[in-house]
């Protein structure tokens, strides 16, 4: 392992909570509905994070706790029952309903598991109920997906069929691309988790080889292991290097000749390297500061340093699972400063002090930093954009070169006009 410097920090944070992952999960599984059991704040949060506005009825909502629900818990259970009935009556197309716990529902100890169990009996054969927590006192941003996936595992049937299971939400086009490449490699039985339909859950068992596509799935991985799945240890498929290693790790698990992998990947790699050039020109030698948000920070830092030649000032991450990140950390340059957790004020002091060329941060900090003359890239974009895989390496680099290029355009001398 390289001599990476690990630090921990506690204090006020500037990170989304796990509820926000609903925003991409509901797009991934259009037959699912996410019902947050929480406060008006939760409702407002999802609405604000979901972007501007919704264009049709959204596949998420909030059962807002009111004064009377806090008075007695029995009432809250009945109330939730009523709300679910209303919802199902209005949205008969829902196949899976996630009851999502929030900070207030956890503090008042609302037992969503029992509610889900009862509802499952009542709506048997029509709607499936699962529950998990996306609360901000337990989870940050992407950890919500971990909770949602973990909640689905008990519903997955067992099978000893040999298969490759890609775990973590991917953009559909990226997923299709991966499947095609794996088929070329000779791995034909490939499934995804989460699937595109919540009802089409893959079957798992001791011949399931799990390849993670996202680094924030600690609990899901643990439960998959308990179900006998084999976890393939690999870096994450971001950038050429990460993706190549990722494919190689999968190939090894399926006893596929390494030469064949190189043979199939090399044209893609060459093409991607070519595409990466113009971005590298801009990014090379620029100093990068990553504030914690998505847990993708370490992989991004590895890509931006190793392939785009950026200098890493600090790599923040809201939570660090050293085991899952082992392969990534090995690829980081020596003396990389990793900071787990956050004290946002102290971290911003360090940002100002080090005066980096680019800061990766959440949306709450981006404009204020821009106003101070520091270029930023919003971390939320990484979870919405197709950034995985060799073919997307240049697009991924583009997300970071764009703010810098824009800066160049805006600060160059004004054109002479007549």
């Amino acid at each position: 392992m390289s001599k990476v410097e690990f630090n921990k920090e506690t204090g006020p944070r500037e990170v989304f909570c796990g509820l926000t992952s609903i925003v991409w999960l509901h797009r991934r599984m259009p037959d699912a509905f996410f019902l947050v059991v929480g406060s008006r704040t939760c409702a407002h949060l999802i609405q604000s994070a979901a972007g501007v506005m919704i264009f049709a009825e959204p596949r998420f909502g909030t059962a807002i706790l009111e004064e009377k629900d806090l008075a007695g818990l029995a009432d809250a259970h009945e109330e939730l029952d009523r709300v679910v009935n209303d919802l199902i009556a209005r949205r008969p197309e829902i196949k899976t309903l996630f009851l999502v716990g929030s900070c207030p529902s956890e503090v008042i100890k609302l037992d969503l598991a029992t509610v889900a169990e009862k509802l499952n009996k009542r709506f048997l054969g029509q709607v499936r109920f699962v529950n998990y927590s996306g609360s901000g006192i337990e989870t940050t941003f992407t950890q919500g997906e971990d909770g949602a996936l973990k909640a689905l595992i008990p519903l997955m049937e067992s099978s000893n069929e040999e298969k490759l299971l890609l775990v973590g939400t991917l953009a559909n086009n990226v997923e299709d691309r991966f499947k095609k490449i794996f088929k070329n490699l000779g791995i034909s039985n490939i499934e995804s988790f989460p699937p595109r339909q919540s009802t089409e859950l893959p079957k798992i068992g001791k011949n399931t080889k799990v390849l993670l596509t996202q680094p924030y799935l600690s609990d899901t991985v643990r439960d998959l292991k308990h179900r006998g799945c084999e976890i393939i240890s690999a870096p994450f498929p971001l950038g050429i290097e990460g993706s190549t290693e990722w494919f190689l790790a999968a190939a090894k698990a399926f006893k596929i000749n390494e030469l064949k992998v190189h043979e199939i990947l090399s044209p893609l790699i060459n093409r991607a390297k070519l595409a990466l050039e113009s971005h590298k020109e801009i990014l090379k030698g620029k100093r990068l500061f990553l504030l914690p948000e998505s847990q993708l920070e370490i992989s991004l830092a590895r890509f931006l340093h190793n392939e785009c030649e950026m200098d890493l000032v600090e790599v923040g991450t809201p939570y660090l699972n050293k085991d899952l990140m082992k392969e990534e950390i090995n690829l980081l340059p020596d003396n990389t400063k990793i900071v787990e957790g956050q004290h946002v004020e102290k971290q911003l002091d360090r940002v100002r002090e080090s005066n980096p060329d680019l800061v990766v941060c959440g949306m709450g900090l981006a404009n204020p930093l821009e106003a101070e003359g520091i270029s930023t890239k919003w971390s939320i974009e990484m979870v919405f954009s197709p950034i995985h895989g060799i073919d997307q390496a240049a697009d991924l680099a583009g997300l970071f070169s764009k703010p810098l290029r824009r800066n160049q355009i805006l600060t160059t001398k004004t054109l002479v006009t007549h």
Partner: protein, 523 residues
């Protein structure tokens, strides 16, 4: 429990953040878990602010709950005070913190700071954003001025005469995330100044705690946004005798009435009404022949109380529209909205369920919707033009250009904003004159793509509905053929009217003759 798929207002502590962020030298310590920091992006992304809101979140986690969250609160308060050195400290909690009952306000007061501390108790499970903003502004005003209550004499609106200077007023209520507040303030200050009236303090937008202490240097208060300022205005009236205005200067008539109200209160001579009317283009634009087509346009209005009421008045009295729906999500303003609706012979819709609003909109079948960004979406789905007149804020509602809603320029902006989504006057006339032209055959409506509905679609989508409809009305071949001849832009209306007529008369099949009968009937 209330099922919400979308909400018009945030929680009350977001209202408090609006006040804190609007002001200078104030810091707000919010006892809240990490997820609540999302509220920052309402200011940094929607308002495009270059500063973070002056808010420190305590960011408590589950593991803190067993231990001493009160210590965590105190640590954060101490750090925030040292770092930001505010002149006044607001301390409060979000919904989750309310449940663990740490009483951060009381803790802060026991820490021995010498700055004023406002303890905000905003019940998150029963109140909402506007109430939270109003309560915060009220508590802040009260805290900063309560010591002066006993020593102060009642303030006479005529004090300026004794002091031998121009009269001074405060403008209260504008805040961040309020609809076009920044520009409204400029417009109203300009109008007052033209009338020989000075602005003492604008608050909360841009004010510091020192400014709040100076509020009593003015003669009267302008209550510009009752949702936020009325409670404070009322307190200032009770304790210092300061009068405040009731008229919101949106639209020409309201602006004139507002000026008159201010003048009466301050005992200033009134300006000639015609001279005032000439300050805006709206009255003339509205009278000009080109605007004839606006006559009786059916308009549906929904928004915050202040803007919805003002919009109804402008629509009816200044643009000659027919108001076919009026409502608000502000329960605090329900009484006033109901009164306005009654005057207009419509039933007020008081709800925070956007689906109910959409249903009401569909039923009223308006030609124009004035609403929030949500109604813009609903209207788009129904193929009805829409203009946004109210919060909740969207980045589109924070334009770079000067674009007030109040005063003379505000009236100009409103004329443009409301009338442009409609088909424009001459255009509508010409289309009517040339309706048999090839250009208006289905599929050749390039200038108005989105509202143009294909006849087949109208009939087909309706055929589906027919199976379930109680009325079970059928369009015959001749009826359909005649309907295709109706210009696309009134086709929907003609269709609805004809069906309405058929139901009224118990006619099961609509032929071309039925269509003409209906036309005659509704003329």
């Amino acid at each position: 429990m209330e099922l919400t798929l979308w909400t018009y207002e945030g929680p009350p502590h977001v209202g408090a953040m609006r006040i804190a962020s609007s002001m200078k030298d104030i810091h707000y310590v919010l006892h809240a878990p990490q997820g609540d920091t999302y509220a920052d992006l309402l200011f940094t992304m929607i308002e495009r602010r270059g500063q973070r809101p002056p808010v420190t979140y305590t960011t408590f986690q589950a593991r803190d709950l067993g231990g001493d969250t009160a210590e965590l609160v105190k640590k954060n308060i101490k750090e925030a005070v040292e770092r930001f050195k505010p002149k006044t400290l607001l301390v409060g909690e979000s919904c989750t913190a309310e449940l663990i009952q740490d009483q951060p306000g009381a803790l802060a007061k026991g820490m021995g700071f010498d700055m004023p501390i406002v303890n905000l108790e905003l019940p998150a499970y029963s109140k909402k954003e506007n109430w939270g903003a109003s309560e915060t502004f009220y508590q802040l005003t009260r805290t900063l001025l309560k010591e002066k209550v006993s020593s102060s004499e009642k303030i006479s609106p005529l004090r300026w005469k004794e002091l031998g200077r121009r009269p001074k007023v405060n403008i209260l209520g504008p805040s961040l995330l309020g609809f076009r507040c920044r520009d409204d303030v400029i417009e109203i200050q300009r109008i007052l100044s033209e009338q020989g009236i000075d602005t003492n303090v604008v608050a909360p937008l841009g004010a510091s705690p020192d400014d709040i202490e100076r509020l009593i240097d003015a003669e009267i208060n302008i209550c510009l946004y009752p949702e936020i300022a009325e409670a404070s205005c009322e307190w200032l009236k009770r304790n210092f005798g300061m009068e405040y205005t009731n008229t919101i200067p949106i639209g020409i008539k309201n602006t004139i009435e507002f000026i008159n109200e201010v003048h009466k209160k301050l005992d200033l001579p009134l300006t000639n009404k015609e001279e005032l009317e000439n300050k805006s283009k709206l009255p003339w634009y509205s009278k000009s022949v080109d605007s004839n087509y606006l006559t009786g346009k059916r308009v549906f209005i929904f928004g915050d109380g202040t803007h919805a009421i003002a919009a109804a008045k402008i629509a009816k009295e200044e643009l000659g529209f027919e108001v076919v729906g009026l409502g608000t999500y502000s329960r605090e303003m329900a009484r006033q909205v109901r009164a306005t609706a009654k005057d207009l012979n419509v039933e007020a819709l008081i709800t925070n369920n956007y689906l109910e609003v959409e249903d009401a909109m569909k039923k009223a079948a308006p030609e124009l919707v004035l609403g929030t960004q949500m109604e813009r979406h609903s209207a788009k789905r129904l193929g009805i033009p829409c203009s946004v007149i109210s919060t909740p804020m969207h980045v589109q509602d924070v334009p770079a250009r000067y674009s007030p809603q109040m005063g003379w320029e505000g009236a100009n902006v409103i004329f443009d904003d409301w009338v442009h989504p409609l088909m424009m006057g001459l255009e509508e006339h010409l289309i009517d004159m040339f309706k048999h032209d090839f250009e208006f055959v289905d599929g050749h409506q390039s200038h108005l793509g989105h509202t143009a509905t294909n006849t087949n679609n109208i009939l087909n989508s309706d055929e589906k509905k027919e199976k379930n409809s109680k009325e079970g009305i059928i369009w015959t071949e001749s009826g359909r053929a005649e309907l295709t001849k109706v210009p696309f832009f009134v086709r929907g209306k003609v269709k609805t009217n004809t069906e309405k007529y058929a139901i009224l008369r118990g006619i099961p099949e609509i032929s071309d003759e039925t269509l003409y009968d209906a036309k005659a009937y509704f003329n």
